[in-house]
């Protein structure tokens, strides 16, 4: 056997070893990929089985919530119809409530009695003979009520 043949055999052996090593590495990687994909596939199947009835349950919850909302709306409408006069009065807040909510403004109000909280408005008293001349001239703005009359 000539030396050139020995070199050729060695070269072929190197080539075969290189090809075999790479193919084995690829096979190992593909085996690991298959194992991992099997795990992922199992997880996806479990998720699919878990999430399968969710749509129907959510639809049922939505229907129940919708019927509850309609129930409340109908009840509130019936209650508002039954209490319409009271509701109409309640829409315009009474001056008593305004005075209670803002007592400091009630003190500066010109026609409130007492100037404190829980005050009530009072109609001006009927004019007597003493005050007859006051109606000829416009009354001062802050002296209108009997409680602001100068002594």
């Amino acid at each position: 056997m000539e030396p050139a043949h020995i070199v050729l055999l060695i070269a072929v052996a190197i080539a075969v070893i290189a090809i075999a090593g790479h193919l084995i590495a690829v096979a190992v990687i593909l085996k690991r990929v298959v194992d991992n994909l099997t795990v992922v596939l199992g997880a996806v199947q479990a998720v699919t089985e878990t999430a399968q009835p969710v749509g129907a349950i959510i639809d049922e919850i939505n229907r129940d919530l919708d019927s509850g909302r309609k129930l409340i709306e109908n009840g509130v409408e019936r209650l508002e119809e039954g209490r319409a006069p009271v509701g109409a009065q309640a829409e315009e807040p009474s001056r008593h409530a305004v005075a209670e909510s803002a007592p400091d403004t009630a003190e500066s109000a010109p026609d409130t009695v007492g100037g404190g909280s829980g005050t009530a408005t009072a109609a001006p008293p009927a004019p007597g003979d003493v005050d007859a001349d006051r109606f000829d001239q416009p009354a001062p703005e802050r002296k209108r009520g009997w409680f602001n009359r100068d002594a």
């Binding site: 072929v12 290189a18 090809i19 990687i29 998720v47 999430a51 959510i58 919850i61 509850g68």
Partner: protein, 79 residues
Amino acid sequence: MWIGDAIFLLVVIPAVVIILRRVLTPAVEIGAYVEDITEHGAQFAPHLGALSELTTTRDLVKEVNADLERYVRALERVG
């Protein structure tokens, strides 16, 4: 004969190695991606554990509806 050996050693074997590298590199990347998918995909199922509570939610909504109906009727009787 020696010329053929030289060509085989200096041209053919490197070419084979380069081609095999081009196969091996994507395979390694695919392996890394699959491991990443496995790591994060395995955490997918525990996060959906609360879905089993939806049946409890459905039952509670039904109970709330029944109580709500009683409440509205009681309000109408009061009003």
